[in-house]
Protein backbone atom coordinates (compact mmCIF):
# COMPACT_ATOMS: atom_id res chain seq x y z
CA UNK A 1 0.00 0.00 0.00
CA UNK A 2 1.33 3.39 -0.82
CA UNK A 3 0.57 6.43 1.21
CA UNK A 4 -0.49 9.40 -0.85
CA UNK A 5 0.58 12.88 0.03
CA UNK A 6 -2.08 14.89 1.84
CA UNK A 7 -4.76 16.19 -0.50
CA UNK A 8 -3.72 19.64 -1.50
CA UNK A 9 -6.12 22.55 -1.12
CA UNK A 10 -7.54 23.73 -4.44
CA UNK A 11 -5.11 25.77 -6.50
CA UNK A 12 -5.46 29.55 -6.22
CA UNK A 13 -6.58 29.92 -9.81
CA UNK A 14 -9.35 27.36 -9.24
CA UNK A 15 -10.56 29.27 -6.20
CA UNK A 16 -10.52 32.62 -7.95
CA UNK A 17 -12.37 31.22 -10.92
CA UNK A 18 -14.92 29.65 -8.57
CA UNK A 19 -15.35 33.07 -6.99
CA UNK A 20 -15.74 34.59 -10.43
CA UNK A 21 -18.43 32.08 -11.20
CA UNK A 22 -20.30 32.80 -7.99
CA UNK A 23 -20.07 36.53 -8.57
CA UNK A 24 -21.37 36.11 -12.07
CA UNK A 25 -24.19 33.91 -10.86
CA UNK A 26 -25.11 36.49 -8.23
CA UNK A 27 -24.77 39.71 -10.20
CA UNK A 28 -24.56 38.74 -13.81
CA UNK A 29 -27.27 40.07 -16.06
CA UNK A 30 -27.33 36.84 -18.03
CA UNK A 31 -30.62 35.65 -16.51
CA UNK A 32 -33.54 37.53 -15.03
CA UNK A 33 -33.42 37.62 -11.23
CA UNK A 34 -36.84 36.02 -10.77
CA UNK A 35 -35.92 33.02 -12.96
CA UNK A 36 -32.73 32.48 -11.06
CA UNK A 37 -34.54 32.62 -7.78
CA UNK A 38 -37.09 30.12 -9.00
CA UNK A 39 -34.31 27.78 -10.15
CA UNK A 40 -32.69 28.11 -6.71
CA UNK A 41 -35.96 27.20 -5.08
CA UNK A 42 -36.48 24.19 -7.32
CA UNK A 43 -33.01 23.06 -6.27
CA UNK A 44 -34.02 23.49 -2.66
CA UNK A 45 -37.11 21.35 -3.23
CA UNK A 46 -34.92 18.62 -4.66
CA UNK A 47 -32.81 18.44 -1.49
CA UNK A 48 -35.83 18.78 0.80
CA UNK A 49 -36.41 15.03 1.21
CA UNK A 50 -32.88 14.67 2.52
CA UNK A 51 -33.34 17.59 4.89
CA UNK A 52 -36.44 15.84 6.21
CA UNK A 53 -34.35 12.75 6.95
CA UNK A 54 -31.79 14.87 8.80
CA UNK A 55 -34.57 16.52 10.76
CA UNK A 56 -36.16 13.17 11.66
CA UNK A 57 -33.02 11.37 12.76
CA UNK A 58 -30.88 14.17 14.19
CA UNK A 59 -33.09 17.03 15.35
CA UNK A 60 -36.41 15.41 16.17
CA UNK A 61 -34.79 13.13 18.82
CA UNK A 62 -33.88 16.30 20.75
CA UNK A 63 -37.60 16.58 21.38
CA UNK A 64 -37.28 13.16 23.03
CA UNK A 65 -35.43 14.89 25.88
CA UNK A 66 -38.86 15.81 27.18
CA UNK A 67 -39.27 12.17 28.21
CA UNK A 68 -36.79 12.80 31.00
CA UNK A 69 -39.49 14.88 32.71
CA UNK A 70 -42.03 12.05 32.62
CA UNK A 71 -42.30 8.56 34.00
CA UNK A 72 -42.52 7.27 30.45
CA UNK A 73 -44.14 3.89 29.82
CA UNK A 74 -44.13 2.91 26.14
CA UNK A 75 -47.43 1.06 26.54
CA UNK A 76 -49.22 4.19 27.77
CA UNK A 77 -47.59 6.70 25.45
CA UNK A 78 -46.37 10.12 26.48
CA UNK A 79 -49.85 11.53 27.16
CA UNK A 80 -50.69 8.63 29.46
CA UNK A 81 -47.39 8.84 31.34
CA UNK A 82 -47.05 10.73 34.58
CA UNK A 83 -45.26 14.10 34.59
CA UNK A 84 -42.61 13.91 37.29
CA UNK A 85 -40.62 17.11 36.75
CA UNK A 86 -36.97 16.81 37.70
CA UNK A 87 -37.44 13.60 39.69
CA UNK A 88 -34.91 11.60 37.64
CA UNK A 89 -32.27 14.27 37.90
CA UNK A 90 -32.82 14.50 41.66
CA UNK A 91 -32.55 10.73 41.89
CA UNK A 92 -29.23 10.85 40.02
CA UNK A 93 -27.64 13.02 42.72
CA UNK A 94 -29.90 12.14 45.66
CA UNK A 95 -30.14 8.37 45.98
CA UNK A 96 -26.96 6.91 47.53
CA UNK A 97 -27.10 3.64 45.54
CA UNK A 98 -27.62 5.61 42.32
CA UNK A 99 -24.78 7.97 43.18
CA UNK A 100 -22.33 5.17 43.88
CA UNK A 101 -23.36 3.42 40.67
CA UNK A 102 -22.87 6.59 38.63
CA UNK A 103 -19.54 7.20 40.36
CA UNK A 104 -18.35 3.73 39.30
CA UNK A 105 -19.60 4.27 35.74
CA UNK A 106 -17.87 7.65 35.51
CA UNK A 107 -14.64 6.16 36.89
CA UNK A 108 -14.75 3.46 34.19
CA UNK A 109 -15.58 5.99 31.48
CA UNK A 110 -12.81 8.39 32.40
CA UNK A 111 -10.29 5.61 33.05
CA UNK A 112 -10.83 4.13 29.58
CA UNK A 113 -10.80 7.56 27.94
CA UNK A 114 -7.58 8.56 29.68
CA UNK A 115 -5.92 5.26 28.84
CA UNK A 116 -6.98 5.93 25.26
CA UNK A 117 -5.45 9.41 25.38
CA UNK A 118 -2.30 8.10 27.07
CA UNK A 119 -1.81 5.54 24.31
CA UNK A 120 -2.63 8.00 21.52
CA UNK A 121 1.11 8.56 20.95
CA UNK A 122 1.43 4.96 19.75
CA UNK A 123 0.10 5.56 16.20
CA UNK A 124 2.51 8.49 15.93
CA UNK A 125 5.42 6.35 17.13
CA UNK A 126 4.30 3.55 14.78
CA UNK A 127 4.45 5.94 11.82
CA UNK A 128 7.79 7.48 12.81
CA UNK A 129 9.49 4.10 13.27
CA UNK A 130 7.88 2.52 10.20
CA UNK A 131 9.23 5.46 8.21
CA UNK A 132 12.76 4.38 9.23
CA UNK A 133 12.28 1.08 7.38
CA UNK A 134 13.73 1.31 3.89
CA UNK A 135 12.28 -1.83 2.35
CA UNK A 136 9.09 -0.87 0.54
CA UNK A 137 7.61 -4.35 0.31
CA UNK A 138 8.13 -4.92 4.02
CA UNK A 139 6.45 -1.60 4.79
CA UNK A 140 3.53 -2.49 2.54
CA UNK A 141 3.01 -5.88 4.15
CA UNK A 142 3.16 -4.39 7.64
CA UNK A 143 0.64 -1.73 6.72
CA UNK A 144 -1.71 -4.17 5.04
CA UNK A 145 -1.73 -6.61 7.94
CA UNK A 146 -1.95 -4.05 10.73
CA UNK A 147 -4.78 -2.08 9.12
CA UNK A 148 -6.99 -5.13 8.60
CA UNK A 149 -8.34 -5.33 12.20
CA UNK A 150 -9.76 -1.82 11.84
CA UNK A 151 -12.23 -3.08 9.26
CA UNK A 152 -13.82 -5.85 11.25
CA UNK A 153 -16.68 -5.42 13.71
CA UNK A 154 -16.32 -5.54 17.47
CA UNK A 155 -18.36 -8.75 17.40
CA UNK A 156 -15.64 -10.35 15.35
CA UNK A 157 -12.95 -8.91 17.62
CA UNK A 158 -14.80 -10.56 20.47
CA UNK A 159 -14.93 -13.81 18.53
CA UNK A 160 -11.16 -13.59 18.11
CA UNK A 161 -10.73 -12.81 21.80
CA UNK A 162 -12.98 -15.77 22.57
CA UNK A 163 -11.11 -18.21 20.37
CA UNK A 164 -7.75 -17.06 21.71
CA UNK A 165 -8.43 -16.35 25.39
CA UNK A 166 -11.47 -18.29 26.57
CA UNK A 167 -10.90 -21.19 28.96
CA UNK A 168 -10.91 -23.53 25.96
CA UNK A 169 -9.13 -21.04 23.71
CA UNK A 170 -5.76 -21.29 22.03
CA UNK A 171 -3.68 -19.65 24.75
CA UNK A 172 -5.08 -21.86 27.48
CA UNK A 173 -4.76 -25.08 25.44
CA UNK A 174 -1.16 -24.27 24.61
CA UNK A 175 -0.34 -23.45 28.24
CA UNK A 176 -2.09 -26.59 29.46
CA UNK A 177 -0.35 -28.81 26.91
CA UNK A 178 3.04 -27.42 27.83
CA UNK A 179 2.36 -28.09 31.48
CA UNK A 180 2.87 -24.48 32.55
CA UNK A 181 -0.57 -24.37 34.14
CA UNK A 182 -2.94 -27.08 35.32
CA UNK A 183 -6.19 -25.17 35.43
CA UNK A 184 -7.23 -22.84 32.59
CA UNK A 185 -6.69 -19.15 33.25
CA UNK A 186 -9.71 -16.88 33.09
CA UNK A 187 -8.85 -14.04 30.77
CA UNK A 188 -12.38 -13.05 29.80
CA UNK A 189 -14.60 -14.13 32.68
CA UNK A 190 -12.92 -11.91 35.22
CA UNK A 191 -13.08 -8.39 36.57
CA UNK A 192 -9.28 -8.12 36.71
CA UNK A 193 -7.49 -5.55 34.51
CA UNK A 194 -10.56 -4.83 32.38
CA UNK A 195 -9.56 -1.23 31.68
CA UNK A 196 -6.18 -2.43 30.50
CA UNK A 197 -7.44 -5.31 28.35
CA UNK A 198 -10.06 -3.07 26.74
CA UNK A 199 -7.34 -0.55 25.91
CA UNK A 200 -5.15 -3.30 24.48
CA UNK A 201 -7.98 -4.51 22.22
CA UNK A 202 -8.54 -0.95 21.03
CA UNK A 203 -4.85 -0.73 20.22
CA UNK A 204 -4.88 -4.06 18.41
CA UNK A 205 -7.80 -2.90 16.30
CA UNK A 206 -6.84 0.72 15.71
CA UNK A 207 -3.06 1.14 15.80
CA UNK A 208 -2.25 0.42 12.15
CA UNK A 209 -5.16 2.49 10.96
CA UNK A 210 -4.35 5.35 13.32
CA UNK A 211 -0.84 5.51 11.90
CA UNK A 212 -2.05 6.14 8.35
CA UNK A 213 -2.79 9.79 8.94
CA UNK A 214 0.71 10.32 10.36
CA UNK A 215 2.33 8.36 7.51
CA UNK A 216 0.55 10.61 5.05
CA UNK A 217 1.78 13.64 6.97
CA UNK A 218 5.33 12.25 6.90
CA UNK A 219 5.08 11.78 3.13
CA UNK A 220 4.32 15.49 2.93
CA UNK A 221 7.39 16.65 4.89
CA UNK A 222 9.79 18.74 2.87
CA UNK A 223 12.77 16.46 2.05
CA UNK A 224 15.23 19.36 2.14
CA UNK A 225 14.77 19.44 5.92
CA UNK A 226 16.26 15.96 6.14
CA UNK A 227 19.05 16.78 3.71
CA UNK A 228 20.19 19.84 5.60
CA UNK A 229 19.99 17.93 8.88
CA UNK A 230 22.23 15.26 7.38
CA UNK A 231 24.71 17.89 6.22
CA UNK A 232 24.76 19.24 9.77
CA UNK A 233 25.67 15.74 10.98
CA UNK A 234 22.38 14.73 12.57
CA UNK A 235 22.04 11.00 13.28
CA UNK A 236 19.00 8.82 12.79
CA UNK A 237 17.43 9.52 16.16
CA UNK A 238 18.16 13.21 15.93
CA UNK A 239 16.33 13.54 12.61
CA UNK A 240 13.45 11.48 13.95
CA UNK A 241 13.17 13.55 17.11
CA UNK A 242 13.98 17.03 15.78
CA UNK A 243 12.42 16.86 12.31
CA UNK A 244 9.80 14.12 11.89
CA UNK A 245 8.15 14.39 15.30
CA UNK A 246 7.76 18.20 15.35
CA UNK A 247 6.25 18.05 11.85
CA UNK A 248 3.59 15.63 13.12
CA UNK A 249 2.74 17.65 16.20
CA UNK A 250 -0.04 19.76 14.63
CA UNK A 251 -1.88 16.57 13.54
CA UNK A 252 -1.33 15.01 16.95
CA UNK A 253 -2.61 18.12 18.68
CA UNK A 254 -5.84 18.18 16.68
CA UNK A 255 -6.53 14.49 17.36
CA UNK A 256 -5.71 14.98 21.04
CA UNK A 257 -8.20 17.82 21.34
CA UNK A 258 -10.87 15.75 19.59
CA UNK A 259 -10.31 12.87 21.96
CA UNK A 260 -10.70 15.26 24.89
CA UNK A 261 -13.98 16.42 23.37
CA UNK A 262 -15.02 12.76 23.20
CA UNK A 263 -14.10 12.04 26.81
CA UNK A 264 -17.58 10.71 27.58
CA UNK A 265 -18.22 9.11 24.19
CA UNK A 266 -16.51 5.74 24.40
CA UNK A 267 -19.29 4.13 22.39
CA UNK A 268 -20.94 0.99 23.67
CA UNK A 269 -20.29 -1.72 21.11
CA UNK A 270 -16.85 -2.80 22.29
CA UNK A 271 -17.90 -2.89 25.94
CA UNK A 272 -21.22 -4.53 25.20
CA UNK A 273 -19.70 -7.49 23.40
CA UNK A 274 -17.03 -8.01 26.06
CA UNK A 275 -19.49 -7.53 28.92
CA UNK A 276 -20.34 -10.53 31.13
CA UNK A 277 -21.54 -11.30 34.63
CA UNK A 278 -18.00 -11.11 36.04
CA UNK A 279 -16.79 -7.82 34.61
CA UNK A 280 -20.01 -5.79 34.51
CA UNK A 281 -18.91 -3.50 37.32
CA UNK A 282 -15.65 -2.36 35.74
CA UNK A 283 -16.55 -2.48 32.04
CA UNK A 284 -19.71 -0.42 32.20
CA UNK A 285 -18.90 2.92 30.57
CA UNK A 286 -21.47 5.69 30.30
CA UNK A 287 -22.77 4.68 26.84
CA UNK A 288 -23.18 1.08 27.92
CA UNK A 289 -24.77 2.15 31.20
CA UNK A 290 -27.38 4.17 29.33
CA UNK A 291 -28.17 1.11 27.22
CA UNK A 292 -28.32 -1.21 30.22
CA UNK A 293 -30.59 1.15 32.15
CA UNK A 294 -32.81 2.13 29.24
CA UNK A 295 -33.20 -0.89 27.02
CA UNK A 296 -32.30 -3.84 29.24
CA UNK A 297 -33.58 -2.28 32.47
CA UNK A 298 -36.57 -0.68 30.77
CA UNK A 299 -36.36 2.66 32.58
CA UNK A 300 -36.43 4.82 29.50
CA UNK A 301 -36.96 8.11 31.33
CA UNK A 302 -33.99 7.66 33.65
CA UNK A 303 -31.79 6.69 30.72
CA UNK A 304 -33.02 9.70 28.76
CA UNK A 305 -32.03 11.96 31.64
CA UNK A 306 -28.52 10.49 31.65
CA UNK A 307 -28.28 10.59 27.81
CA UNK A 308 -29.29 14.21 27.87
CA UNK A 309 -26.72 15.27 30.49
CA UNK A 310 -24.05 13.38 28.59
CA UNK A 311 -24.93 15.07 25.29
CA UNK A 312 -24.91 18.53 26.87
CA UNK A 313 -21.56 17.97 28.58
CA UNK A 314 -20.09 16.60 25.33
CA UNK A 315 -21.15 19.65 23.36
CA UNK A 316 -19.71 21.96 26.04
CA UNK A 317 -16.44 20.00 25.96
CA UNK A 318 -16.30 20.23 22.18
CA UNK A 319 -16.94 23.97 22.16
CA UNK A 320 -14.27 24.43 24.86
CA UNK A 321 -11.55 22.53 23.05
CA UNK A 322 -12.57 24.31 19.87
CA UNK A 323 -12.07 27.67 21.59
CA UNK A 324 -8.76 26.41 22.95
CA UNK A 325 -7.67 25.34 19.48
CA UNK A 326 -8.60 28.72 18.10
CA UNK A 327 -6.48 30.46 20.71
CA UNK A 328 -3.48 28.13 20.46
CA UNK A 329 -3.21 27.37 16.76
CA UNK A 330 -5.27 30.16 15.32
CA UNK A 331 -7.84 27.99 13.57
CA UNK A 332 -10.82 26.10 14.90
CA UNK A 333 -11.45 22.35 14.75
CA UNK A 334 -15.06 22.46 13.63
Amino acid sequence: MTVAAPIQPPKPEAVSSAKRRIRRADEGPARPVAGRRRAGFVMFLSILPFLVLVFLFSYFPLYGWIYSLYDYRPARGLSGSEFVGLQWFELLVGSPTQVSQIAQVMTNTLAMSFLGIATSVLPLAFAVFLNEIRSTWFKNIIQTLTTLPNFISWVLVYMIAFSMFSTTGLVNTVLLDSGLITIPMKFLDTDQNIWLTMTLWSIWKGLGWGAIMYLAAIAGIDQSLYESAKVDGAGRFQTMWYITVPQLMPTYFVLLLLSIANLLNNGMEQYYVFQNAFNRNTIQVLDLYVYNVGITGNSLSMATAISMLKSIISVILLLSVNALAKRVRGSSLI
Binding site: M1, T2, P6, I7, P9, A14, S17, A18, A25, R36, V42, M43, S46, I47, F50, L53, V54, Y59, F60, P61, L62, G64, W65, Y67, Y72, P74, F129, L130, E132, I133, I142, F151, I152, S153, V155, Y158, M159, I160, S163, M164, L170, T173, L207, G208, I212, A216, G235, R236, V273, V290, G294, I295, L300, T304, I306, S307, M308, S311, S314, V315
Partner: protein, 308 residues
Protein backbone atom coordinates in the same frame (compact mmCIF):
# COMPACT_ATOMS: atom_id res chain seq x y z
CA UNK B 1 43.87 11.66 16.65
CA UNK B 2 40.96 13.10 14.80
CA UNK B 3 41.68 11.10 11.67
CA UNK B 4 41.66 7.93 13.74
CA UNK B 5 38.59 8.78 15.78
CA UNK B 6 36.36 9.51 12.84
CA UNK B 7 36.25 6.05 11.22
CA UNK B 8 35.80 4.52 14.68
CA UNK B 9 32.66 6.49 15.45
CA UNK B 10 31.32 5.70 12.04
CA UNK B 11 31.77 2.00 12.63
CA UNK B 12 30.16 2.27 16.05
CA UNK B 13 27.27 4.17 14.52
CA UNK B 14 26.77 1.56 11.85
CA UNK B 15 26.74 -1.21 14.41
CA UNK B 16 24.17 0.67 16.44
CA UNK B 17 22.27 1.22 13.24
CA UNK B 18 22.16 -2.51 12.50
CA UNK B 19 20.88 -3.24 15.99
CA UNK B 20 18.25 -0.55 15.60
CA UNK B 21 17.17 -1.90 12.24
CA UNK B 22 16.94 -5.46 13.52
CA UNK B 23 14.86 -4.48 16.54
CA UNK B 24 12.67 -2.21 14.45
CA UNK B 25 11.96 -4.92 11.87
CA UNK B 26 11.35 -7.46 14.60
CA UNK B 27 8.83 -5.33 16.50
CA UNK B 28 6.84 -4.51 13.37
CA UNK B 29 6.90 -8.12 12.19
CA UNK B 30 5.67 -9.30 15.60
CA UNK B 31 2.81 -6.84 15.67
CA UNK B 32 1.83 -7.71 12.10
CA UNK B 33 1.73 -11.41 13.02
CA UNK B 34 -0.42 -10.58 16.07
CA UNK B 35 -2.81 -8.77 13.75
CA UNK B 36 -2.97 -11.43 11.05
CA UNK B 37 -2.68 -14.74 12.89
CA UNK B 38 -6.18 -14.69 14.46
CA UNK B 39 -7.71 -14.49 10.99
CA UNK B 40 -5.57 -17.36 9.80
CA UNK B 41 -6.54 -19.30 12.93
CA UNK B 42 -10.24 -18.87 12.21
CA UNK B 43 -9.83 -19.97 8.61
CA UNK B 44 -7.74 -23.09 9.27
CA UNK B 45 -10.12 -24.18 12.03
CA UNK B 46 -13.18 -23.74 9.84
CA UNK B 47 -11.76 -26.12 7.22
CA UNK B 48 -10.29 -28.70 9.60
CA UNK B 49 -11.97 -31.90 10.81
CA UNK B 50 -14.46 -30.83 13.44
CA UNK B 51 -13.43 -33.41 16.03
CA UNK B 52 -9.85 -32.09 15.93
CA UNK B 53 -10.79 -28.41 15.92
CA UNK B 54 -13.09 -28.93 18.90
CA UNK B 55 -10.08 -30.05 20.95
CA UNK B 56 -8.21 -26.87 20.05
CA UNK B 57 -5.43 -28.80 18.32
CA UNK B 58 -5.52 -26.92 15.02
CA UNK B 59 -2.91 -24.23 15.49
CA UNK B 60 -0.53 -23.88 12.57
CA UNK B 61 -2.12 -25.57 9.58
CA UNK B 62 -5.47 -27.21 8.76
CA UNK B 63 -5.83 -30.83 9.86
CA UNK B 64 -8.13 -33.26 8.07
CA UNK B 65 -9.28 -30.73 5.53
CA UNK B 66 -13.02 -30.69 4.74
CA UNK B 67 -15.30 -27.99 3.39
CA UNK B 68 -18.53 -29.58 4.61
CA UNK B 69 -18.92 -26.85 7.28
CA UNK B 70 -19.62 -24.23 4.65
CA UNK B 71 -22.52 -26.30 3.33
CA UNK B 72 -23.91 -27.35 6.69
CA UNK B 73 -23.74 -23.92 8.24
CA UNK B 74 -26.52 -22.82 5.91
CA UNK B 75 -28.77 -25.39 7.53
CA UNK B 76 -28.54 -23.41 10.76
CA UNK B 77 -31.89 -21.89 11.61
CA UNK B 78 -31.90 -18.21 10.73
CA UNK B 79 -28.56 -18.13 8.95
CA UNK B 80 -29.69 -17.93 5.30
CA UNK B 81 -32.18 -15.24 6.29
CA UNK B 82 -29.50 -13.30 8.23
CA UNK B 83 -27.19 -13.51 5.21
CA UNK B 84 -29.95 -12.05 3.04
CA UNK B 85 -30.58 -9.23 5.52
CA UNK B 86 -26.86 -8.43 5.75
CA UNK B 87 -26.41 -8.43 1.99
CA UNK B 88 -29.61 -6.46 1.48
CA UNK B 89 -28.73 -3.69 3.89
CA UNK B 90 -25.18 -3.48 2.55
CA UNK B 91 -26.26 -3.17 -1.08
CA UNK B 92 -29.28 -0.91 -0.56
CA UNK B 93 -27.73 1.20 2.18
CA UNK B 94 -24.54 1.78 0.20
CA UNK B 95 -26.39 2.65 -3.00
CA UNK B 96 -28.64 5.08 -1.13
CA UNK B 97 -25.88 6.90 0.70
CA UNK B 98 -23.67 7.09 -2.40
CA UNK B 99 -26.44 8.69 -4.45
CA UNK B 100 -27.48 11.03 -1.64
CA UNK B 101 -23.88 12.09 -0.92
CA UNK B 102 -23.21 12.70 -4.61
CA UNK B 103 -26.37 14.74 -5.09
CA UNK B 104 -26.11 16.78 -1.89
CA UNK B 105 -22.37 17.29 -2.22
CA UNK B 106 -22.94 18.65 -5.71
CA UNK B 107 -25.97 20.77 -4.77
CA UNK B 108 -24.09 22.47 -1.96
CA UNK B 109 -21.54 23.76 -4.45
CA UNK B 110 -24.31 25.60 -6.33
CA UNK B 111 -24.50 29.27 -5.38
CA UNK B 112 -28.06 29.51 -6.64
CA UNK B 113 -29.42 27.00 -4.14
CA UNK B 114 -31.87 28.78 -1.87
CA UNK B 115 -30.25 29.46 1.57
CA UNK B 116 -27.36 27.22 0.61
CA UNK B 117 -25.05 28.05 3.52
CA UNK B 118 -27.83 27.68 6.06
CA UNK B 119 -28.95 24.23 4.94
CA UNK B 120 -25.36 23.08 4.60
CA UNK B 121 -24.71 24.03 8.21
CA UNK B 122 -27.95 22.38 9.32
CA UNK B 123 -26.59 19.11 7.98
CA UNK B 124 -22.94 19.44 8.97
CA UNK B 125 -23.61 20.44 12.58
CA UNK B 126 -25.30 17.07 13.17
CA UNK B 127 -21.81 15.55 13.22
CA UNK B 128 -21.12 17.31 16.49
CA UNK B 129 -24.11 16.48 18.62
CA UNK B 130 -26.28 13.51 19.34
CA UNK B 131 -29.56 13.52 21.23
CA UNK B 132 -28.52 10.26 22.87
CA UNK B 133 -29.24 6.59 22.49
CA UNK B 134 -32.58 6.49 24.28
CA UNK B 135 -34.19 9.61 22.77
CA UNK B 136 -33.24 8.28 19.33
CA UNK B 137 -34.66 4.88 20.26
CA UNK B 138 -37.97 6.45 21.35
CA UNK B 139 -38.20 8.45 18.12
CA UNK B 140 -37.46 5.36 16.03
CA UNK B 141 -40.23 3.59 17.89
CA UNK B 142 -42.58 6.52 17.29
CA UNK B 143 -41.74 6.46 13.58
CA UNK B 144 -42.49 2.74 13.46
CA UNK B 145 -38.89 1.91 12.57
CA UNK B 146 -38.28 -0.64 15.30
CA UNK B 147 -38.47 -4.17 13.93
CA UNK B 148 -38.43 -2.68 10.47
CA UNK B 149 -35.83 -3.34 7.77
CA UNK B 150 -35.71 0.37 6.88
CA UNK B 151 -34.08 1.20 10.20
CA UNK B 152 -30.93 -0.21 8.59
CA UNK B 153 -31.19 2.15 5.63
CA UNK B 154 -32.95 5.44 6.32
CA UNK B 155 -30.81 6.82 9.17
CA UNK B 156 -27.64 6.23 7.14
CA UNK B 157 -28.66 7.96 3.92
CA UNK B 158 -27.50 11.46 4.78
CA UNK B 159 -23.93 11.30 6.06
CA UNK B 160 -22.44 14.77 6.67
CA UNK B 161 -18.90 13.43 6.42
CA UNK B 162 -19.53 11.95 2.96
CA UNK B 163 -21.18 15.17 1.81
CA UNK B 164 -18.08 17.12 2.82
CA UNK B 165 -15.93 14.65 0.88
CA UNK B 166 -18.00 15.01 -2.29
CA UNK B 167 -18.38 18.78 -1.99
CA UNK B 168 -14.62 19.22 -1.59
CA UNK B 169 -14.09 17.00 -4.60
CA UNK B 170 -16.60 18.83 -6.81
CA UNK B 171 -15.03 22.14 -5.86
CA UNK B 172 -11.69 20.88 -7.15
CA UNK B 173 -13.18 19.90 -10.54
CA UNK B 174 -12.75 22.40 -13.37
CA UNK B 175 -15.64 24.89 -13.64
CA UNK B 176 -15.59 24.57 -17.41
CA UNK B 177 -17.34 21.20 -17.12
CA UNK B 178 -20.51 22.69 -15.71
CA UNK B 179 -20.23 25.92 -17.69
CA UNK B 180 -20.11 24.07 -20.98
CA UNK B 181 -23.23 22.09 -20.08
CA UNK B 182 -24.99 25.30 -19.02
CA UNK B 183 -24.19 26.92 -22.32
CA UNK B 184 -25.73 23.89 -24.02
CA UNK B 185 -28.91 24.60 -22.09
CA UNK B 186 -28.82 21.68 -19.66
CA UNK B 187 -30.79 22.12 -16.46
CA UNK B 188 -29.30 21.44 -13.06
CA UNK B 189 -30.44 17.81 -12.89
CA UNK B 190 -29.14 17.02 -16.36
CA UNK B 191 -25.86 18.62 -15.36
CA UNK B 192 -25.72 16.46 -12.25
CA UNK B 193 -26.63 13.15 -13.85
CA UNK B 194 -24.96 13.49 -17.23
CA UNK B 195 -21.91 15.63 -16.54
CA UNK B 196 -20.94 15.68 -12.87
CA UNK B 197 -21.89 12.19 -11.67
CA UNK B 198 -19.72 10.32 -14.22
CA UNK B 199 -16.79 12.50 -13.21
CA UNK B 200 -17.14 11.88 -9.50
CA UNK B 201 -16.33 8.15 -9.62
CA UNK B 202 -13.12 8.21 -7.53
CA UNK B 203 -14.67 9.96 -4.56
CA UNK B 204 -17.88 7.95 -4.83
CA UNK B 205 -15.84 4.76 -4.75
CA UNK B 206 -14.31 5.93 -1.48
CA UNK B 207 -17.74 6.70 -0.05
CA UNK B 208 -19.14 3.37 -1.29
CA UNK B 209 -16.38 1.27 0.24
CA UNK B 210 -16.51 2.97 3.62
CA UNK B 211 -20.27 2.75 3.84
CA UNK B 212 -20.38 -0.86 2.62
CA UNK B 213 -17.93 -1.85 5.36
CA UNK B 214 -19.92 0.10 7.96
CA UNK B 215 -23.19 -1.51 6.86
CA UNK B 216 -21.77 -5.02 6.78
CA UNK B 217 -20.18 -4.61 10.22
CA UNK B 218 -23.09 -2.88 11.89
CA UNK B 219 -24.26 -4.63 15.03
CA UNK B 220 -25.57 -1.99 17.40
CA UNK B 221 -28.70 -1.07 15.42
CA UNK B 222 -29.91 -4.67 15.40
CA UNK B 223 -29.25 -4.86 19.11
CA UNK B 224 -31.23 -1.72 19.90
CA UNK B 225 -34.03 -1.57 17.36
CA UNK B 226 -34.72 -5.17 16.38
CA UNK B 227 -36.26 -8.09 18.27
CA UNK B 228 -37.79 -9.78 15.21
CA UNK B 229 -35.53 -12.73 14.40
CA UNK B 230 -36.20 -12.51 10.67
CA UNK B 231 -34.35 -9.14 10.69
CA UNK B 232 -31.21 -10.35 12.46
CA UNK B 233 -27.95 -9.71 10.63
CA UNK B 234 -24.98 -12.07 10.34
CA UNK B 235 -23.05 -10.00 12.89
CA UNK B 236 -25.88 -10.33 15.37
CA UNK B 237 -26.25 -14.04 14.77
CA UNK B 238 -22.51 -14.52 15.28
CA UNK B 239 -22.73 -12.66 18.58
CA UNK B 240 -25.54 -14.98 19.67
CA UNK B 241 -23.59 -18.04 18.58
CA UNK B 242 -20.60 -16.99 20.66
CA UNK B 243 -22.60 -16.31 23.79
CA UNK B 244 -25.43 -18.77 23.78
CA UNK B 245 -23.87 -22.19 24.04
CA UNK B 246 -27.23 -23.84 24.70
CA UNK B 247 -29.01 -22.51 21.64
CA UNK B 248 -25.91 -23.28 19.62
CA UNK B 249 -25.88 -26.91 20.67
CA UNK B 250 -29.52 -27.20 19.65
CA UNK B 251 -28.74 -25.51 16.35
CA UNK B 252 -25.81 -27.85 15.79
CA UNK B 253 -28.02 -30.84 16.37
CA UNK B 254 -30.59 -29.54 13.96
CA UNK B 255 -27.96 -28.75 11.34
CA UNK B 256 -26.41 -32.19 11.77
CA UNK B 257 -29.81 -33.84 11.90
CA UNK B 258 -30.58 -32.77 8.39
CA UNK B 259 -27.96 -35.15 7.16
CA UNK B 260 -29.00 -37.85 9.58
CA UNK B 261 -26.45 -40.49 10.53
CA UNK B 262 -24.30 -39.77 7.50
CA UNK B 263 -22.41 -37.13 9.45
CA UNK B 264 -19.07 -38.51 10.62
CA UNK B 265 -17.09 -37.18 13.57
CA UNK B 266 -15.09 -35.01 11.17
CA UNK B 267 -18.10 -33.25 9.74
CA UNK B 268 -20.50 -33.42 12.69
CA UNK B 269 -21.12 -29.78 13.62
CA UNK B 270 -19.71 -28.64 16.94
CA UNK B 271 -19.99 -25.32 18.76
CA UNK B 272 -16.44 -24.54 17.67
CA UNK B 273 -16.97 -25.43 14.03
CA UNK B 274 -20.12 -23.31 13.78
CA UNK B 275 -18.51 -20.30 15.44
CA UNK B 276 -15.40 -20.51 13.28
CA UNK B 277 -17.30 -21.03 10.03
CA UNK B 278 -19.76 -18.19 10.65
CA UNK B 279 -16.86 -15.92 11.62
CA UNK B 280 -15.09 -16.67 8.37
CA UNK B 281 -18.28 -16.01 6.41
CA UNK B 282 -18.58 -12.67 8.20
CA UNK B 283 -14.95 -11.65 7.67
CA UNK B 284 -14.37 -13.03 4.18
CA UNK B 285 -16.10 -10.22 2.25
CA UNK B 286 -13.98 -7.70 4.16
CA UNK B 287 -10.75 -9.52 3.30
CA UNK B 288 -11.99 -9.95 -0.26
CA UNK B 289 -12.59 -6.26 -0.97
CA UNK B 290 -9.62 -5.20 1.18
CA UNK B 291 -7.22 -4.68 -1.75
CA UNK B 292 -9.88 -2.41 -3.23
CA UNK B 293 -10.09 -0.10 -0.30
CA UNK B 294 -6.40 0.17 0.18
CA UNK B 295 -6.45 2.28 -2.93
CA UNK B 296 -9.11 4.56 -1.57
CA UNK B 297 -8.93 4.86 2.16
CA UNK B 298 -5.86 7.01 2.45
CA UNK B 299 -7.52 9.48 0.16
CA UNK B 300 -10.67 9.25 2.23
CA UNK B 301 -9.01 9.78 5.56
CA UNK B 302 -7.00 12.72 4.29
CA UNK B 303 -9.98 14.41 2.74
CA UNK B 304 -11.77 13.83 6.01
CA UNK B 305 -9.21 16.03 7.71
CA UNK B 306 -10.55 18.90 5.63
CA UNK B 307 -13.24 20.48 7.66
CA UNK B 308 -16.62 21.54 6.38
Amino acid sequence: MTTLAQPLTRIREEKGSYAFKAVNYLIFATFAVLCAYPFYYLIINSISANDISALGDVRWWPMGIQLENYVQVFNLPGLPQAALVSIGRTVLGTAATVMASAFLGFMFTQARLWKRQFWYRVIIVTMYFNAGLIPVFIIMKTLGLTNNFWVYILPFIVQPFNIILVKTYVESMPDSLQEAAEVDGANIFQIFFRVMLPNMTPILATVAIFSAVAQWNSFQDTLIYVTDQSLYTLQFLLYMFINQAASLAAAAQQAGGNLGSVASAATQQTATSIRMTVSVIVVLPIIFIYPLFQRFFVKGIMLGAVKG
